[in-house]
Amino acid sequence: MKKYLFIVAFVFISIAHSQNCSSKFFGNVHDFHDGSPILDASIYLETIDRYTTTDFDGNFSIENICDGTMTIVVSHLACETKRFEVHIKGNTKYDVTLEHHIEELSEVKIEGKGPAKLTKTSQETHLDTKMIEQYSSLSLGDALKQISGVSSINTGNSIVKPIINGLHSSRIIVMTNGVRLQDQEWGIEHAPNIDLNTAGNINVIKGSNALAYGGDAIGGVIVLKPSNISLKDSLYGKTILSGQTNGKGFNINSVLTKTYKEGWYVSVQASMKQFGDFKAPDYYLTNTSSNFKGFSVNGGYKTFEQGFNIYYSFLNNEIGILRSSHIGNIEDLVNAINSQQPLVIDDFSYDINAPRQDVTHQIAKLDFYNRFKNFGRFELQYNYQNNERFEYDIRVGGDKNKPAIDLTLKTHTIKASLKMDSNENAIYEFGFNGGYQNNFANPDTGIRRLIPDYDKFDAGMFAIANYKLNTKTDADFGVRYDFIRIDAKKFYQTSRWDERGYGDDFADIVIDDLGTQLLTNPIFDYHNVSASAGLAHKFNNKHTLIFNYGLSNRAPNPSELFSDGLHHSAARIELGDLRIKQETSNRISSTYQYHHSNLTVSLEGFYNHIKDYIFIKPTGTEQTVRGAFPVWSYEQTNAALFGFDITVKYYFNDNWSFSNKSSFIKGRDLNESEALIDMPSFKTMNILGYSNEKWFQLNANLQSELVLKQNDFPNNNFEVFIPSTGNMEFVDVSSTPPTYHLLNFESDITLDVSEKTNLNIGLNITNIFNTSYREYLNRLRYFADDLGRNIMLQLKFNY
């Protein structure tokens, strides 16, 4: 192409000579960041079809051209091409800046196999589009379990919350397209409201080192980003269709993207999933049907120097909760635990009855950025999120169709950041964010509010420095400060207020006495300081070592502070405590990576000391007219979590590979010298893979998943008097399910339908042997087995 242009230009120059024009167009081409000259950039005057290149100092000059407006195209290998108009009158000087650090341009697709990481010195794992698409019909939590050290805490199989190194819920930040998800993430039965299909890339950063996202990510950060957009005139799309045997369900997801080379783009995505009752090997899991609808629009304008992005997403999840898990008092719980199978088993159905959840989450985001020459990138973002949560219980009479929980959480956030990257050896990033959140608990439910009405204000600022000490060593440091104020209006039953002993400590927050209830106005301020430091050293092409340290604080969430009363879906009385302080984590970790032609190894180790760790544990029983209920109270202790994660992949040859992913974690309550509750047990996955480009790009793998029985758990079992038998009965809420082993199979082929269209066909079988098992971290393990065999067929069109 260049040769051709050169010939054309040469011919033209000869012709131009005959014209009576004598102006000169000259200037310099240099790097945007550091101003260094760019050698051998091509300057093409499109209007008159003339051409030159820059010299060693980045200078160029074209003589003998006519006055007038010219379209100029400046390009250089590994730089973004620039196109602009210049008005030439006499000798005209024009300086051009090009973006040289092309790998930092998010719109440019990164070729090669190197993972696209967001940090240099953290324990970070990247999931690419192909890995995400495989889980199109499942949830974020399911997809992340591919990562060693990431597991999940479930309520059934549809409500899946990710756990990073033993920590979950409020200790994990989920970022979606630059927005921190605010969706009542505190509850275990509140899964992140994310449609996995909106993500093109997912990065999981373990620990709190990524301070730009927040200071309270004691567990880690999950960053979801939409697919990269290339700057060219194009229209393309993707449709995924899948059907599966278990739940007799389907999933459809479609994305259509239009891009323009000038920088405009718009992408529209919609998805829908519907499943009926899922099946354990021996019975249907009655009332586990679910229905998901998602829609998103992502559009804007982006060039290297400036751009903006408008994003809107809508997601509605309607999820049935296992019928048998809805129980009354402690006697029902004893009956359920002692019964080997669910007490209600009906025929297969698509109906979603109570108990069920109906959650709608909407995100609207606007952000824009501007780059300044020899300086850096400034970005400003505003987002609004609306989370509406209904939970329906089995109720009587006129309340049957009335939700038991009706919460609306609205969050406004504004944030600004400045990344100074003119010197690639010392990059600085500063940021500020402010937010306002309002929770409204609708009193029409006829049930006392589980979470009170509150306003929350927060403001945070951070500074991060990344240094490239030499070609082999990177270091970074960060500090962050966050202020959080919670201003709640909460009713307490007078009896509960007295039982908690709040009368002495909190008498001043009572604003109204209604006899049996007190209206209070707790206002709590929290100051959180976070810091991080990391070092990554690459000894040679094979060995890399990473160290990092993170200090972070997390303020208690509304559930930990204010919970008070019977949680129907858990059949227990949950009590928060106004006295709970923030928790402080000190985490050190280290990673060793080995990379050689056919072997890659990653060993990650961590130790996380959490002062005033907030957790909930059984503390006794309370009698009501309904009978006795177990009481679970939020408490604080000093805790230590430590463990290691292993990822190994070995290629025997071009076709066969073997990989292993294992994670081991221990959680200790240092005050009580006992195990922490709800810690993932040892898990190891061995995967035998086969791929062959010649057979329609076949990929197939056989996965063996082994999860050992958790032997380290606190014994919270107790005995309770059961009136209908007249005996003291043992309530085994602590014992863990036995070891289980599952075998899964995944395969896919890709067919080229036409030049621009391909079809990928995937066949996945999970739990091939239809093994009955229960998982410790599934809250419904008392009531039913986990899922049996599932065969899924997935068709994916790229066009």
Partner: protein, 188 residues
């Protein structure tokens, strides 16, 4: 750059507008399904002292335990006509829950149990399907004096056709417990 500025202004003004919170106090929730009180009234068939068994928990699911009262001892070898009165006394006047149970009688069933064989029970009412309900019942005391307990349980959505359930055996009933109260009773 113009676009950039405009977007800044729109963003900032929308935040200012959206941040106006209202300072009104929330209204207290009227708990609708709370059962505070169960009263069993036992009237001797041949006449005599009426005995009441009552459990009352005015703070509902709150920390205070129910207050249980038994008005007096039962007589040996006596049949009592029993009926149950279920109230929500958090409201004024107290709301009777009996009607709701009667309306959905096929979804509810009371169970009666006694220890030390101090009494036996029979259902005196049925639901729309002819299965027992238990708002009305008869209690027959033992022939010998003894002390023991009587437990009254209300199950919501029991499996009324399961084995033994229509005879008052709770073992296979399933469902959720809405009321459960145990009374210490003397038969003399």
């Amino acid at each position: 750059m113009k676009l950039f500025k405009k977007l800044c202004i729109i963003t900032l003004s929308s935040i200012v507008l959206a941040s106006c919170s209202n300072d009104d106090n929330p209204v207290p929730v009227n708990e609708e399904e709370v059962i505070t009180t169960l009263t069993a009234t036992l009237t001797p068939v041949g006449g005599g002292t009426t005995i009441t068994l009552q459990t009352k928990d005015l703070d509902g699911d709150g920390p205070n335990a129910p207050v249980i009262t038994v008005s007096g001892p039962l007589s040996v070898s006596t049949s009592y006509n029993g009926n149950l009165q279920i109230l929500n006394e958090t409201e004024t006047p107290a709301e009777s829950i009996n009607m709701e149970i009667e309306e959905e009688n096929d979804e509810h069933q009371f169970f009666f149990q006694a220890t030390n064989s101090i009494a036996t029970f029979d259902y005196a009412d049925v639901d729309g399907n002819g299965n027992p309900l238990g708002l009305e019942f008869t209690l027959t005391t033992a022939a010998t004096a003894a002390t023991g307990t009587i437990t009254i349980t209300l199950r919501h959505l029991p499996n009324k056709t399961a084995s033994g359930v229509s005879d008052g055996d709770i073992t296979n009933a399933g469902g959720e417990t809405d009321i459960q109260a145990t009374f210490s009773v003397t038969v003399q």
